[in-house]
């Protein structure tokens, strides 16, 4: 059970001076700029949930996660994880957490992978038998057999992510925090990681909180979504409802055989879609496929001339979030 209660985090950054001796003057100056990274966020996550935590860059996702696992202390508000505060009882809480930061590794860079697991086992004071079993299971599920003897620095990104996942699960934590676990991976590796995560959640009943920029991650994994923008939580619920709210915004580029005759704008002005651009033979329109169908748009457009080619595009999720909230 994870409870975040009215979390706030304000970073106080010194204002950087310009000009001569800027470093010294910045050091001595008392001027600060307060940046609110997280603003009054509250939520509760129950055991076994798979929650996607999404929002644009700089929205405060990582800051929230770092407060949840005790790395950062909130300016105000409180976190409890299974009844303990990660700030006050850090050592006790982190024992129940598995954390993966997609852009950093927790493995020992220059040593063979196997060594990292051995070291982690003694860090977490795992019993020998438990460690052997756990590593055996993880090695099999995450297919690490062939990687064990290779120094971590020589692993590919996808291999390293699998190893990092195994490392975060070695002490059998109840809760997993994953900060962009699929970042930089190719399609195959992404799918692999998703399959593992699904298994961790459904078979091993791990509670998982995941941040991502990849909508497919959310769609395939998360039963619940929390959307954050400018440090505030703006949506908390299931993906379907969020979809309903957003609809299916689509951008269509329609290419005609000949140049479009002027006056087309008047003709299209009373439509269920908006013209957002026109270039020579190509007209770009934006519509919401909840309100109108692509066929309807094409039907109407075909009155302007012979259509040669069409191109459909769904704008990326973060753009939409920016627009609707």
């Amino acid at each position: 059970m994870i409870i975040a209660h009215r979390l706030n985090k304000t970073f106080r950054l010194p204002i950087v001076m310009e000009g001569r001796f800027s470093a010294v003057r910045t050091l001595l100056s008392r001027e600060y700029r307060d940046v609110e990274a997280v603003n009054d966020i509250s939520f509760e996550i129950s055991k076994g949930e798979f929650v996607g935590y999404i929002g644009p860059n700089g929205a405060g996702k990582s800051t929230t996660i770092k407060m949840l696992c005790g790395i950062l202390h909130p300016t105000s508000g409180e976190v409890t994880i299974n009844g303990c505060s990660p700030q006050k009882q850090r050592q006790q809480v982190v024992r129940q957490l598995g954390v993966v930061f997609g852009q950093r590794t927790q493995l020992w860079w220059d040593l063979p992978l196997k060594d990292s697991f051995d070291i982690l086992a003694s860090l977490y004071k795992l019993e020998q038998q438990f460690f052997k079993n756990q590593l055996g299971v993880l090695t099999e599920i995450l297919q690490l057999q062939e990687l064990m003897g290779i120094p971590v620095r020589k692993l590919s990104l996808g291999q390293r992510m699998r190893a990092d996942l195994a490392a975060s699960l070695l002490h059998d934590p109840d809760i997993l925090f994953l900060d962009e676990p699929t970042i930089g991976l190719d399609v195959a590796a992404k799918k692999q990681i998703r399959d593992y995560l699904k298994q961790m959640n459904s078979q091993w009943n791990k509670t998982i909180l995941l941040t991502t920029h990849d909508m497919d991650d959310i769609e395939q994994l998360c039963s619940r979504v929390i959307v954050i923008n400018h440090g505030a939580a703006i949506y908390d619920g299931d993906l379907e409802t969020l979809r309903g709210r957003i609809g299916l915004p689509t951008v269509m580029k329609i290419k005609f055989r000949e140049a479009v005759s002027p006056g087309y704008e008047d003709f299209l002005s009373a439509s269920t879609f908006q013209v957002i651009g026109c270039q020579d033979r190509v007209i770009t329109v934006a519509c919401n496929r909840k309100e109108t169908t692509a066929m309807e748009v094409l039907n109407r457009m075909s009155k302007l001339g012979t259509i040669e080619d069409i191109h459909l595009e769904e704008p990326n999720f973060e753009d939409i979030i920016h627009r609707i909230y």
Partner: protein
């Protein structure tokens, strides 16, 4: 007990990592040997030529030098990464350490573990030469040997405390390399020589604000010159422990102000 086990486990891992780059490892050990060896030789030749400085013979000065050699070596062995702490703050590397179920400091000090072989060999050689000369000339007795050990222990603790306190300042200022160069590096080099050669303001600084004068100079006054009295050794040890406790609670306060970095 298990913490000590974990310390060696982590330190061993760090050492094995460095062995992946054997050439670099051997070269840096040799360089230390060469650097400090040259410095020691130059200084002793000069002191010898002038028949001592401010009443300190070449063997007495050599003794101070050796004490600091040991202090620096043990400080770096125990807590090398404290001296390079800035990168943990600026690059957010501290995140990972905070996720381990043990004191952050324990994980930190085992990173980049170095055995400091160059310093230890040079320190032992210098110390043996100087002490045996002083004992032969009845200026000191065998009692100086256990005393020297005590001085090295208290000196290491003082240096560690000052280093830790300096690193902690970084939680607020982020950049600490410059500050460390003064408190950690310059002050320990200054303590290689008798404090009496420095101007008054510097002597006072090294005995108050930045009490590195207590690592070697003050206790050595008793050990090899019979000044002050035996009380200076326990007094120094007391000061060392007090400084370390102070530095540790300052460190705990600092951790609350850690800001990490964006991703």
């Amino acid at each position: 007990m298990s913490w000590i086990h974990i310390y060696f486990r982590l330190a061993g891992a760090s050492l094995r990592s460095q062995m992946q780059y054997k050439f670099n490892f051997i070269l840096s050990t040799l360089l230390v040997f060469l650097m400090f060896g040259l410095e020691l030789m130059t200084v002793s030749i000069i002191i010898y030529k002038f028949n001592g400085i401010k009443g300190w013979s070449v063997y007495e000065a050599g003794y101070l030098f050796a004490i600091m050699m040991f202090v620096r070596a043990f400080y770096r062995i125990i807590a090398g990464e404290i001296n390079g702490f800035e990168k943990y703050l600026v690059q957010g590397m501290l995140d990972q350490l905070l996720l381990r179920p043990m004191p952050v400091l324990l994980v930190l000090v085992t990173r980049n573990f170095r055995p400091m072989a160059g310093e230890l060999v040079l320190g032992t050689t210098t110390m043996s030469i100087c002490l045996s000369y002083l004992i032969e000339n009845k200026q000191a007795t065998l009692w100086a040997i256990p005393c020297s050990l005590a001085v090295i222990v208290s000196g290491t603790i003082i240096t560690l405390a000052i280093g830790l306190a300096t690193a902690t300042v970084g939680f607020w200022t982020h950049r600490i390399d410059e500050l460390q160069r003064i408190t950690d590096n310059a002050a320990s080099i200054a303590s290689q020589y008798p404090l009496s050669i420095y101007p008054k303001w510097m002597r006072i600084t090294l005995l108050t604000v930045l009490p590195m004068g207590f690592t070697s100079y003050m206790p050595s006054l008793y050990v090899i010159r019979g000044e002050l009295g035996l009380w200076i050794l326990p007094a120094t040890m007391l000061l060392a422990v007090a400084l370390l406790l102070g530095a540790l609670s300052f460190w705990k306060l600092g951790l609350r102000h850690y800001q990490s970095t964006g991703t």
